[in-house]
Subunit: 452 residues, 2 copies
């Protein structure tokens, strides 16, 4: 493929986005894009009732524009820039959205949050939305890969700081910006790039993809009207890469642009909790199923885990759902006691469930440097003296064990509890057939609670 | 004064802002704060008609909330968050606002742009606004000093990236946030910290203080409602200083907080153009005045300037006002031909004025390493053979030669051309007496064109 010249990188990216057509993208890549959007939509529904959403809407509604846009999962309308922010918060607040392991970015939230807001008030075909999303995803992933790991390790939450580029080019594509305007949109995105990992553990983490969606959307609107920006936002000596990443390879952004796609780098979490405890949950669910384990009779659980798991998820004496998301003991307990780990398993109720607690209290976790981060060894000893064990190599949701389409649907249903079942079915079908939708507004209508 | 412990720095700053009272601030510092606000108000008026303002308003008005807030210098109303953005753009777009030479930040634009927007729609006393501004200025200056030069040299436009903290604490003070909320507001500001110097030379530069004002205002509103954020936003391992500055001294933020103020670090530009050509303009105005120079009879002008001046401002063959702002030849020409250098001297008209051009064409500028950046040597030779020269050590506007109150008023009047003279007089008087205003809305009403 050969190295490309990156002295005019921002313009190259703009050119690509302006010229790209849906037909250019291979069918398997588009299927992965649809999977990502289905997963996104479910997460936006699942997070739509979170307190961070209510706070944001209450705090900012007095300053919101005419209510022309819809917020996924919520009744009522607001202006599309606030809706973009809200969609970004809901879809990320449970940390349940997609992740590209090559750069740790959650790529869909910032891009799709802007797009579904835009498409809730403007006539957009499903094909146009899918294309705009695909371009946003591709731009985010390339910029993320080009600056990983330095950018992330420095402390940037790249879901926000890189996500903003994806939102800008995606909305810019729907606005049919010309090349010069697209360059400005990228510039206005770069100069809003923000989000610190110091916010992890607070609501502000979910604010990052929301603000990226809103900022990228704003960038495209301003550029459309002729608001100028520096034209070397990515590659310039004081541009994004130079300022926000101690090391980077700009060719990763330009090489193969329009010929190679990165959709298969994406992964979907089966469980709404810290990724490092996924192997434990997965193994315990499998053990319960294989051996019809009755959790009431569990005497002891011994885990051998990668040392990182103890570093990050060593809380056993917990009382809050949020703590459960970062407890390897809770992970084993819900796997054995409930055989599943959806949103309901990380509530305060679940953490305080007597059976879950009873199992949690008999779990020990041993750090073992010979266990990989994506693996676990679990041994369950029953009161009757029987013992069951499993050595899991790769957890479900890993690139090597991706969620099936059916598993993505199951995850979706688990989060779409505010919608009637028939509406959920229709919404899932509409997501799978996104590029055949004549108007995405019909799909978005399915994603909000009806007037009842 | 002794070193303070900075492990809880964000909370210390929050404590200070929450507890501070106007009486705590020395009278001379408050006078400087009033000077800064007068200068700010003039700049906001002067930039209010800029094309970047019209574009922003047009692009974002469809998404703006109820029109309850005023934009300085403009008829009509919009929502206060958009008004904060617009005030930030207008007050910085001519690069004519204040500068603290210790960190190159334009500190007032991000803070006051949010405050005057807020106070245009809420009852706020002048004393409360002055206090909130003073706290915002102090926070910006301390964070700027603590991270200068590394943060700026890395490519951050700290007027935006640091300015956002000032807007957040200033609005937070008016909202009477408690300490915990103020900590969150600082966190939400930190995680929006943005603005790249790669945008210099485009409209996006003025977007930085605007977005900082809007983002800081938003941070305070969200924190008020309980939107949580990381609580070590300034000092944490992945907080603002660690992520955005390769070197810093956090004690500069905390040492003497509430006892030492930094208002005398502020400077006001007499001329709306690159700071490095200020000595040339100043010297030429002085020569014209001292020797009653008639520019029509100038035969030759010889400048000896610091080498940096040639590096940055070497354009002679120019046709646009914006180019004039970075031309040492134009600087000499307007000083000699017009005896002043206000906004009118950096228009396309002025640059193409035959007399200005005639003088410009007989200027030569010699880089001389013995001339300091704030100095110049000018020699003017007349057609009759007479010669006049001046060696200027410090340009007007420098910390050693600050603009007098009367000169600030003159600068204000030069920019307030959209308002009737009597209204300008009343507005200037109201600014000087800010802390005696019962309701700042009356002052803001004076800063917009009347219904006439």
């Amino acid at each position: 493929m050969g190295d490309t010249d990156t002295r005019d990188l921002t313009r190259q990216v703009a050119d690509y986005v302006v010229a790209a057509r849906l037909d250019d993208i291979p069918a398997d890549a588009l299927h992965e894009a649809r999977r990502a959007l289905l997963n996104y939509m479910g997460c936006a529904l699942g997070g739509s009732g979170h307190r961070a959403m209510a706070i944001t809407w209450e705090a900012l509604a007095p300053y919101a524009g005419p209510p022309t846009a819809r917020v996924l999962g919520r009744a009522g309308q607001t202006d599309p820039l606030l809706a973009a922010l809200l969609n970004g918060i809901s879809s990320h607040v449970h940390d349940y959205d997609d992740t590209t392991p090559s750069n740790y970015i959650h790529p869909t939230s910032p891009v799709a949050s802007a797009l579904f807001s835009y498409a809730s008030m403007n006539p957009v075909t499903g094909a146009d939305l899918l294309l705009a999303y695909a371009l946003g995803y591709e731009v985010v992933t390339r910029i993320g890969d080009a600056t990983y790991p330095a950018h992330y390790q420095a402390g940037w939450h790249s879901t926000g700081s890189v996500g903003v580029f994806g939102a800008a080019v995606a909305i810019g594509k729907l606005l049919r910006l010309d090349e010069r305007q697209m360059v400005w949109a990228i510039g206005l995105a770069a100069t809003q790039s923000a989000g610190l990992r110091e916010m992890f553990g607070s609501m502000a983490k979910s604010f990052h993809p929301g603000r990226a969606a809103q900022g990228g959307y704003t960038a495209a609107l301003l550029a459309q009207r002729g608001f100028t920006a520096g034209e070397h936002a990515l590659e310039g000596p004081r541009g994004f890469a130079a300022v926000e990443s101690a090391a980077y390879d700009l060719r990763v952004i330009s090489d193969g642009l329009g010929r190679q796609y990165h959709f298969h780098q994406n992964t979907y979490k089966p469980f709404p909790c810290g990724i490092v405890i996924h192997p434990t949950i997965d193994a315990c669910i499998q053990l319960r199923r294989s051996h019809q384990i009755d959790a009431r009779h569990v005497a002891a659980v011994r885990l051998r885990v990668a040392p990182l798991v103890r570093d990050l998820c060593d809380q056993r004496d917990i009382s809050k759902g949020l703590q459960g998301k970062f407890s390897v003991y809770h992970a084993a307990a819900i796997g054995l006691a409930r055989g599943k780990a959806g949103l309901a398993e990380f509530t305060d109720e679940a953490v305080n469930d007597p059976l879950v607690r009873q199992v949690r209290e008999c779990v020990v976790a041993e750090a073992d440097a010979s266990i990989a981060e994506d693996s676990v060894h679990v041994e369950v000893r029953m009161r009757d003296g029987k013992s069951h064990s499993l050595a899991l190599e790769h957890a479900l949701g890993n690139l090597r064990r991706p969620l099936s389409d059916a598993q993505l649907e199951e995850k979706f249903r688990d989060q779409a509890t505010m919608l009637p079942a028939a509406q959920v079915d229709a919404l899932i079908a509409a997501c799978w057939q996104l590029d055949r939708q004549a108007d995405v507004r019909r799909l978005v209508d399915l994603a909000v609670p009806g007037p009842a």
